[in-house]
Symmetry: C2
């Protein structure tokens, strides 16, 4: 089903006249046209202001309001003010007003008349392609809700109204946040969003809590702000809630030299580097600890839709793909956002792993209070993601594929990544020495995390664990295979690597199948050499 | 002339064999193919590292090195480190190496197979269009130096090697910086670059120096960092160097509550809001003061190429357009960068006003030391501008138009903006009351700055100047015209508006000609009403 701008023409009256008809659930793909018709005329002109509430489920009154987070905001964030020039916008609605007030150039001088993009047709498996035509004046010509004359000009700090509508609908279909005043704002990728969020919550000297191994860039971003990471013990479901509780319960500001931390950075699904995915119960426990200590959680979820089919061994075929959108959505571990009654989750979504990193487009979902602060920051820094990226994504996700087609694409990715993971698992089972290497098959993401038994290394006790890790990397390189040493991801890089912390990370997202198998064979050879095992 | 990737095939040997032939000046459009052939094979693969020196004039040894700026860097900027993961890249060059090390997804899963863009053909006046075809594997297929498989994936913090090559060449053709170790790095627009630069140089409590009226967003960006703007008296050529000198010479850190400022934010051409353009002598004087007080200058130049033909009165036709690239380049006021022997200028360029704001792509030019710090910041925040924007710009600027075609486009814009300005000047001369309104016809940019005689307002002395300004705005709105009150741009908004500071700003970049004239007529009516003048 293609959801085009013409869906808006379905009139509310037509619906009222047929009250006997069962209306589609507004929180499903099928409910989107109904939601849109209820929302009234869409306004997405030049630099059009928008607000998530314009596109959310119309009746959220049964849900609680978010808590207030004033006590968690940094001085920098609290001091942000809306730009004074925006005050003038109120005059523009006066009939007949002529403006010499703006600062926008004319689209007449943008030398891009039309952008056509070849994309897979809805039935992804068929390898059929269709061409999306994006013109300069598609809105005026009634062809679309968005065109180049709008996308190529300046826009709002929240991103375009068109894309905000889409991400709000998508977020509600997938997560249905259980509080009322949530919202979304676009970001030029989650790395940038993370930096903005640090500046929004942290003061110099603060700690950020994360898994003991974590995304290196998240740590590196915090350093120049005068902040440090502190790691919480993890298992194959990620951060251990009781360990988090203990860290916070026993926090002594004086000996730690810092106030009790309240900001957690976590990747709950297909964590980088460990590949760990928090199960539902783990997530519930984790959220309870977050409530107990009044934490703000940055739920960074680039790999959420790279959740794969259950791993059933290398000799068994994977279970069949989900047959319906509901079956697919039900197969996903519920997000932290979906259980967030307080509005303490800031969820980071990104198109990087599911459509293209080069789009530099993602969004965050959080309480309206936090979204407002974040958007103020956008206005005086990145402004908004590339309008060219935004309009291509919108044309694809909204007007070509629609919400349903996008879920079909995600199912296609799920099956592709499942196949990739299975190839790597089979290779690991065949080629790695089980005496010293062990792993949990990843349920999501792009990474496989292989634990090595430092104690079984011939140099254990004579060399430091870091030196043993260096030696393993060198041996692997000599054998012609590159993997990433686990120490690169230590959230507290200042502490020495412990024996229980000897890991390597392998990526199964990009190599050809045969190369992946050969690389794993070489890794097996290298590990046997390094650990002095027989071939 | 279209400069395509095939220019690289011109071999250096062929050039050596014909030593008698006069070689084109490498600093001209015609010299680019020669520069490229001298530079050797271009390497622009997946996330390829690049450095401006790879693309600069090969022989810069006669130029001095930049001064060091360690004493000007903030603690935040000094603490930035290169990401550890990049260390692994050295292993990838080993022959036969297979990598499971990366974190990049496969382009197989990017659902964008081809992007075609309709753009004006080189002969802009002809209204002819050509279609640029951008494929996923154009590099492999020998069609281009850049393709979607590269642009849609992650790239380097400096931006793509392809775009860095182009901006370095362009910068050298236009500005030819007089020191040796300059470089460029891409930005997602100059607003974002400004924020990064503040964080690079400023500590909390610092002042930024600017014109007394300045771009409101530049001021608003500094506030949350705990910094303030201080304005320097200006005339119709912008900031007055002697006033800048006096401010700094008499700076008393104790009474000011801040160290002596060293960071200047200025828009030397077509300044926003005043439309003022510093002439060559003014620029030289200004640079001398910058040297005297060891200043760092942020030369924000969004309107540099919106320098117009000389204004010769509304009854005279504009002088004819420049006939050659040389004539065009010679017609531009030399940039501060072009006289920067010390490396103290950080120049901000942007495609927003000359190609499209929605591309969210620009670049900065500065000393290699500063470029390196800036790029480190990019890596842990915005990463790089949208790859989709980058590849469309590259295909247009490098492989379709080439450097010469881009200059032709800029000449086209120059003539278009000249016409627009002239329409507004004629309307102002006809409709505004000269008893109380005066102006200098702008030589560059998008803005016209109209001075009003506060002392001649009937309420002068009874109401504050700000109240008089409010009243003028209200009267204009009642007459159906919107202009922006000058106080919105005061760099020191905390100080009361003085009588000499009563201005309104009009934009001539976007309204239709007839609307611009009618809006000006209404403004004339409003001003007469407000000042109690006869119709």
């Amino acid at each position: 089903m293609v959801l085009s701008a013409t869906n808006e023409d379905v009139s509310l009256h037509a619906v009222e006249d047929t009250a006997a008809v069962v209306l589609p659930d507004p929180l499903t793909v099928e409910g989107v046209p109904f939601r849109r018709s209820n929302a009234g005329k869409f306004s997405g002109g030049l630099a059009a202001a928008s607000h998530s509430d314009m596109f959310k489920h119309p009746d959220l009154n049964h849900k609680p309001l978010s808590k207030r987070w004033d006590h968690r905001l940094s001085a920098e964030s609290k001091s942000r003010q809306a730009t004074q020039l925006k005050e003038l916008a109120k005059y523009l609605s006066k009939p007949g007003m002529l403006s010499l007030g703006g600062g926008l150039p004319s689209s007449e001088y943008f030398p891009f008349e039309e952008i056509d993009v070849k994309v897979p047709a809805l039935d992804v498996g068929n390898h059929e392609e269709i061409t999306m035509q994006i013109g300069k004046h598609d809105v005026r010509e009634g062809k679309s809700a968005y065109d180049l004359s709008i996308a190529l000009n300046y826009g709002q700090g929240s991103g375009s109204a068109q894309m905000i509508r889409w991400v709000v609908e998508h977020t509600e279909i997938v997560h249905n946040p259980p509080y009322r005043d949530w919202g979304c704002t676009l970001t030029p990728g989650s790395t940038c969003a993370t930096e903005h969020l640090y500046r929004m919550f942290l003061e110099k000297g603060d700690y950020v809590i994360s898994e003991e191994f974590t995304f290196a860039t998240a740590v590196e971003t915090s350093g120049p702000l005068g902040c440090r990471f502190i790691g919480v013990r993890m298992d194959d479901e990620g951060m251990i809630p009781s360990a988090l509780d203990e860290l916070l319960t026993t926090w002594d500001p004086i000996s730690r030299g810092a106030r009790k931390p309240f900001l957690v950075y976590t990747v709950p699904s297909g964590q980088n580097p460990s590949g760990a995915t928090m199960g539902l119960e783990r997530r519930k426990e984790f959220y309870k600890i977050a409530q107990k200590h009044d934490l703000i959680i940055l739920e960074d979820e680039p790999y959420y839709f790279l959740q794969m089919q259950p791993y059933v061994g290398s000799d068994h075929p994977s279970p069949p793909a989900p047959k319906t959108h509901k079956e697919f959505l039900d197969s996903l571990v519920p997000s932290l956002l979906s259980m967030d009654v307080d509005g303490r989750i800031v969820r980071l979504d990104s198109f990087s792993k599911v459509l293209s990193p080069g789009s530099r487009t993602g969004w965050i979902t959080a309480s309206a209070q936090l979204i407002e602060r974040f958007t103020r920051h956008n206005e005086v820094s990145v402004q908004h993601p590339s309008g060219i990226s935004q309009i291509i994504l919108h044309r694809l996700l909204d007007e070509t594929w629609g919400h349903g087609g996008y879920l079909d694409w995600l199912i296609h990715l799920r099956m592709s990544y499942t196949e990739r993971r299975n190839v790597l698992m089979k290779a690991c089972e065949e080629h790695l020495p089980k005496e010293i290497a062990s792993w949990t098959p990843p349920a999501a993401g792009m990474f496989h995390w292989i634990k090595l038994e430092a104690e079984k290394h011939p140099m254990f006790g004579k060399k430091s664990v870091k030196e043993i890790e260096d030696e393993i990397l060198e041996t692997a390189v000599q054998e012609g295979v590159l993997v990433v040493p686990g120490s690169y991801f230590k959230s507290e890089a200042r502490k020495p690597l412990e024996a229980r912390e000897l890991y390597v990370r392998a990526n199964f997202a990009s190599a050809e199948f045969e190369q992946m198998t050969e690389a794993t064979r070489r890794l097996g050879v290298a590990l046997r050499k390094s650990f002095g095992l027989k071939e």
